[in-house]
């Protein structure tokens, strides 16, 4: 009962807060987007995240998560979740980019949070350094996302997704918002310039040609060992049998 009351209070407080934010916002188109975003939110998101984005027993509060979080989660199709078992999967987005932007504007209007990265990230090719990005990636990202960005396993069926389809915007959004299991890599710890280098390295890894033939998933000794022990050893056994068979 007490919890419900507290939730109610939080919800009320923030709806008042959001109303005042709306009034403070001078731009008409912005407030229109916030209104549209609120309508979409009420239809598509509120059943789990609460009517005022205050969260619930099955979903976290979205107050203060910022526009970047919405753009990442909804823009990559992870939200709305298709099933609530382990983790939200990347899939075809349920909303158009305009609708995603509207929901992002609405959630951003609730409380300050990380904003969607601007046009500065398009210059990663010019401003980033692949070598520096590789060093940063190996220290900060490789333990979960694999040394080649292929993704990897976490506990209880959770996993760090592959980065082979990621675009610069979602890479930065993931680092500054820390979606799902991923921790936050804030701009003071990995500076925006260093983030560009990480993007440049990931983009280079995405098009890295496989000079040695089949890359076997680029996951290291697991697939390589499996192939050597099954195909390689099988071939050797086959040859040994053929050598020992008497000709007729």
């Amino acid at each position: 009962m007490l919890l419900l009351f507290a939730l109610f209070m939080i919800g009320t407080t923030f709806s008042v807060a959001s109303a005042s934010t709306k009034q403070a916002s001078g731009s008409l188109s912005r407030s229109v987007a916030i209104d549209e975003g609120r309508q979409i939110f009420l239809k598509g998101c509120s059943s789990c995240h609460g009517l005022n984005a205050e969260g619930g027993s099955i979903a976290p509060s979205l107050i203060g998560v910022g526009a970047a979080s919405v753009d990442f989660q909804v823009g990559t199709g992870r939200m709305p979740m298709a099933d609530m078992t382990v983790q939200a999967m990347r899939k075809t987005p349920a909303y158009t980019p305009e609708q995603v932007a509207a929901v992002a504007a609405y959630v951003a209007s609730l409380a300050p949070g990380p904003a969607i990265p601007g046009s500065e990230i398009v210059n990663y090719e010019r401003d980033g350094s692949t070598a520096e990005g590789g060093e940063l990636f190996r220290t900060n990202c490789a333990m979960c996302h694999n040394f080649a960005g292929q993704g990897g396993a976490l506990s209880q069926g959770k996993f760090a997704p592959t980065l082979m389809e990621s675009d610069p915007k979602t890479i930065v959004e993931a680092m500054i918002t820390g979606p799902q299991s991923m921790p936050v890599f804030s701009d003071k710890i990995i500076t925006p310039a260093e983030k560009l280098s990480i993007i440049k390295w990931i983009k280079a890894a995405q098009v890295e040609p496989s000079l040695g033939g089949a890359a076997l998933g680029r996951v290291g000794p697991v697939t390589e060992g499996l192939l050597a022990w099954t195909l390689g050893l099988g071939l050797l056994i086959g040859i040994a049998v053929w050598l020992a068979t008497k000709a007729r």
Binding site: T139, N140, M143, S155, F185, K188, P209, R248
Partner: protein
């Protein structure tokens, strides 16, 4: 019907069955042609190898089912050499199996002991040699030979020195001292508590004093992971709680099991995973081991801020970081 079992005679070796190529000229011709075909295939493989070296550009990529996008130059070099070498081998084996003489020969094992006369000859030869060398008479040669052989014998003992020197305090200590600043890895920038939001992590190393160089040996001991939680999430003893700063807690990244870098932090479950053997540490409970082979929690580094507001170590690690070793006290 009789229930008596007749004595079985020793069936001996099965009859030797000759091959088709031994009796049938057509089959012999066929086997001959098969061997020749394999050798010609091998020659073509070498031609393919040379041709792909000369004519296929080294940066040409082609799509091959299963293999995916593959460098054509490398692919055909390898394919050519495989065909040429494998077909020589296959041809030679097929030749030996079908065409070379197919006689079964039985060779009986001889007695292990040498014949009496050979044994006598051997003893005589040894005695004659010993007399001819004159070792009994020439005592200076005997002694110097004894000296040289003895010294050669003990020379390997000196190589044992390379098992040392003993690590002394190196396994017990790290570069973290009271007041050492925490800096980002890479980047070497000092960190303020406000740089980390709740849920944020930072990979850190101790700040170097001017003139110091960071070695891989040092990074292997000094690497630390900073994690910021909500202060109410902590379930720590009062002492350990005083080692945190505004919800920021610092752990050695070196796994207490085998020394891998533990940095897979799951923000929602607040578990820290080791990628090598899946040891799982519960961050709010001072990295208590909740799964996997690790025997101890990760050592916690006590942190605070200095007068300029940067994070510093308030004391060195209180226990050795990393895996167990013989002299470790706990």
């Amino acid at each position: 019907m009789s229930h008596e079992v007749a004595n079985l005679s020793d069936p001996g070796l099965p009859d030797h069955v000759h091959r088709l190529a031994d009796s049938d000229p057509a089959a012999e011709k066929k086997a001959e042609r098969a061997v020749a075909f394999l050798f010609i295939l091998s020659a073509l493989g070498t031609v393919l190898f040379i041709a792909s070296y000369v004519y296929i550009p080294h940066n040409l990529f082609v799509f091959v089912p299963i293999l995916g996008s593959t460098n054509a130059h490398q692919l055909f070099l390898g394919l050519g050499l495989t065909i040429s070498m494998l077909c020589i081998g296959l041809g030679a084996v097929h030749w030996a199996k079908t065409l070379m003489p197919d006689n079964e020969i039985i060779a009986q094992r001889h007695e292990f002991r040498s014949p009496e006369n050979e044994r006598k000859e051997f003893v005589a030869a040894v005695k004659e040699g010993a007399a001819a060398s004159g070792l009994g008479r020439r005592s200076i040669i005997k002694r110097t030979l004894g000296l040289s052989l003895g010294l050669v014998g003990i020379s390997p003992l000196f190589l044992l020195r390379d098992l040392g020197p003993l690590p002394k305090e190196q396994l017990q200590t790290t570069s973290w001292k009271t007041g050492t600043r925490l800096v980002t890895d890479p980047g070497n920038r000092p960190i303020k508590p406000s740089d980390l939001e709740v849920g944020a992590v930072a990979q850190v190393l101790p700040q170097l004093t001017p003139g110091e160089e960071r070695t891989l040996n040092n990074i292997g001991k000094d690497a630390v992971l900073l994690i910021r939680l909500r202060t109410e999430d902590f379930q720590l003893s009062p002492e350990r709680l005083s080692w945190t700063h505004e919800g920021i807690i610092a752990f050695s990244k070196i796994c207490s099991h085998m020394g891998c870098a533990v940095a897979l932090y799951e923000q929602q479950t607040k578990h820290l995973l080791c990628p090598c053997h899946q040891s799982t540490f519960d961050v709010p409970r001072a990295a208590k081991v909740i799964f996997g082979p690790a025997a101890r929690p990760l050592p916690q580094l006590a942190i605070t801020v200095d007068s300029e507001g940067y994070l510093i170590a308030s004391q060195p690690f209180t226990e050795p970081v990393g895996p167990s070793f013989w002299e470790r006290s706990s």
